[in-house]
């Protein structure tokens, strides 16, 4: 009960947190429960209802194969969230590991890792992602890996900065004195204390990954039809933009709301967890 009360105090009148949190929660639930919420399976073709405007039967209309847009949006949401979480998982793991090493060992390890970060930041990363994805089979796994591999630099810098200050603290010295191994110090003592900035970057990172995935799918290099994703639904919508504008409307709205939710959540978490940035 006390936990709930403390949560209430924390959340209180924080509109951003409430709004972001509810959007994220709602979108995640919709994606998780898609098979139960969706009125039709995502790939069922109602060939006598092609390109129908939104109606009572098809809430958000149908596409050129008579597939229900609302159902496809729900299933597309699963893909977006899945890509977002896994890609961020990858980038956080790489970023945190390199950041810990760089900040803890300093000297040449730090130098090499930070120069690598500089190089990666100079890449026109969307170009690189496009190049790599187009060579590989554009399946979901590859997309997640490539997005993860090109977005870890921010995390590295953050974790490094955090580690640099944490390694001088007394509890780390105490752990070292007690004979803890380096790995143990890094994972058990330093990492948990750097979790706040990691959590914030992860939340914002999900938003970024969803945007990249939908851009790739929009270009036809991401999730391949008939599997629905918000990006490839927009690609199909663009082809029929003059006769069926609703096809171009709702998937984009879904992306906008989801990304907005994660951004709001991330920013409000930053205000909440990072006292240095509080104004």
């Amino acid at each position: 009960m006390r936990l709930i009360q403390r949560l209430k105090v924390l959340v209180g009148h924080n509109t951003m947190l409430i709004l972001g949190g509810s959007i994220v929660l709602l979108m995640s639930l919709a994606a998780l429960l898609a098979p139960w919420i969706a009125p039709y399976p995502p790939n069922t073709e109602h060939l006598d209802h092609i390109l129908e405007a939104p109606s009572v039967r098809f809430w958000l209309g149908t596409d050129r194969l008579g597939r229900d847009i609302f159902s496809r949006l729900l299933y597309g949401g699963r893909i977006s969230l899945w890509v977002g979480f896994v890609a961020v998982g990858i980038s956080i793991s790489i970023g945190a590991a390199l950041g810990l090493l760089s900040g803890y060992f300093r000297s040449w390890v730090d130098e090499v890792i930070m120069r690598l970060v500089d190089i990666m930041l100079c890449f026109p990363s969307f170009f690189l992602i496009l190049a790599v994805i187009s060579f590989l089979e554009p399946d979901l796994g590859n997309i997640m890996i490539v997005i993860g591999l090109t977005s870890w630099m921010g995390v590295t810098r953050l974790v490094r900065a955090e580690t640099l200050s944490l390694r001088e603290r007394e509890f780390v010295a105490a752990a070292r004195l007690a004979g803890s191994s380096t790995v143990r110090i890094l994972v058990q003592h330093i990492l948990p204390n750097a979790l706040a900035p990691i959590l914030i970057t992860a939340t914002l990172g999900v938003a970024g990954a969803i945007l990249i995935e939908s851009s790739l799918s929009f270009l036809g290099l991401g999730v391949q039809p008939p599997t629905p994703s918000w990006g490839n639904m927009l690609m199909e919508g663009k082809a029929a933009i003059e006769i069926a504008p609703w096809l171009s409307l709702y998937p984009g709205l879904a992306i906008l709301i989801t990304v907005l939710g994660y951004n709001l959540l991330g920013e409000s978490l930053r205000d909440l967890l990072d006292p240095r940035l509080r104004q």
């Binding site: 120069r115 500089d118 190089i119 930041l121 100079c122 890449f123 026109p124 990363s125 969307f126 170009f127 690189l128 496009l130 190049a131 790599v132 187009s134 060579f135 590989l136 938003a207 945007l211 939908s214 851009s215 929009f218 270009l219 927009l234 919508g237 663009k238 933009i241 003059e242 504008p245 171009s248 409307l249 998937p251 984009g252 992306i255 906008l256 709301i257 990304v259 907005l260 951004n263 709001l264 104004q279």
Partner: protein, 328 residues
């Protein structure tokens, strides 16, 4: 100052080597090859034909040899020939596409700055006012808006519903019959939508950043001093605060180059504009190694030059950095 620039240039040279090495490696390691279209996917071509084609492009040699070879030719600006059917020099193909993409980006960047700087200043000076709040809402929407969806929406409303602007291509059908003023207007009207998308896309980040920098500066003691001296608020803001708040924005400009280059792929493909982005997209789809490398190198060079320029301007604009550089 001079030493600082030399050191930076050296470092950028190393960065450039690193970038090309990684790109080369990644692209050549990835499955698929530029010869696929003519060989593996063509039932008439046999193994011998494939080997001949690979030998022609030098693809059968060890990777490091290919890289060194490529690098040496790069020294005299030879990016090689495109591996696509026309096999024209990569540099020519890039140079004919460059003006459109760079022009659009520079123009929209100026527009972005022109709007974002005043908006950022206003919302920082009137923190928590109605204006500030609406700017914040706009910023969050702008961050979450996928550029391609924005493009679709603008096409839908301004292009299709209102019929104000053309939605694709660079010129109209009757372009050749127009006089030079007509030609200019024709291209301008075709570029309006893409430039709007670019500008709105950059606006959110830039105005938020400007606001944050301005807020930071306004908290400083010397602003208080200036106010206490009895200077008018507008004078304090324009002369004392603005100059310091603009400094970080210069860095942001340098950092935004890779994003602009990446964004051009999407925007050019939506509006069917013959720019670099489209060239790159086509090259990627055809696994045209030399073309992809040429584009990646160009992207990297533009980014590095952007950074170097930003750095130099920063040094010129901020005496503190200038002296620190001379000492160090």
């Amino acid at each position: 100052m001079g030493l600082r620039i030399i050191r930076k240039t050296l470092w950028f040279f190393l960065l450039f080597l690193g970038i090309t090495l990684i790109s080369f490696w990644v692209i050549h390691l990835a499955p698929g090859s530029p010869t696929d279209m003519e060989t593996t996917l063509n039932p008439l071509a046999g193994e011998a034909a494939r080997q001949r084609l690979e030998a022609l492009y030098g693809l059968n040699r060890p990777l490091y040899e290919q890289y060194l070879d490529w690098l040496i030719r790069l020294l005299h600006f030879d990016f090689g020939n495109s591996m696509s059917a026309d096999s024209r020099p990569v540099l020519d193909k890039i140079l004919e596409r460059l003006p459109l993409t760079v022009g659009m980006n520079v123009f929209s960047l100026c527009l972005t700055l022109g709007i974002a700087i005043p908006v950022g200043i206003l919302s920082a000076c009137k923190q928590n006012s109605l204006l500030d709040r609406s700017v914040t809402v706009f910023v969050f929407l702008g961050f979450a808006m996928p550029s391609f969806w924005l493009a679709l929406l603008l096409m839908l409303f301004l292009g299709i519903d209102l019929q104000w602007l053309p939605i694709s291509g660079l010129t109209s059908m009757e372009y050749d019959q127009l006089d030079s003023w007509g030609k200019f207007c024709d291209i301008a009207s075709h570029l309006t939508l893409p430039i709007m998308v670019y500008t709105i896309g950059g606006l959110a980040g830039m105005s938020r950043y400007m606001r944050a920098c301005m807020l930071e500066v306004l908290r400083q003691d010397y602003i208080l001093t200036a106010r206490a001296k009895g200077l008018s608020p507008s004078f304090v803001i324009c002369r004392h605060a603005l100059r310091n708040a603009l400094l970080p924005v210069i860095t942001l400009l340098g950092l935004s180059v890779p994003g602009l280059i990446g964004g051009s792929v999407i925007i050019e493909s939506i509006f069917a504009l013959p720019g670099l982005g489209q060239l790159f997209y086509a090259a990627v789809m055809a696994r045209d190694y030399t073309m992809i490398m040429g584009n990646l190198v160009l992207g990297a060079v533009l980014t590095l030059v952007g950074n170097l320029l930003a750095d130099t301007c920063y040094g010129l604009a901020d005496p503190r950095i200038r002296t620190a550089g001379e000492r160090g």
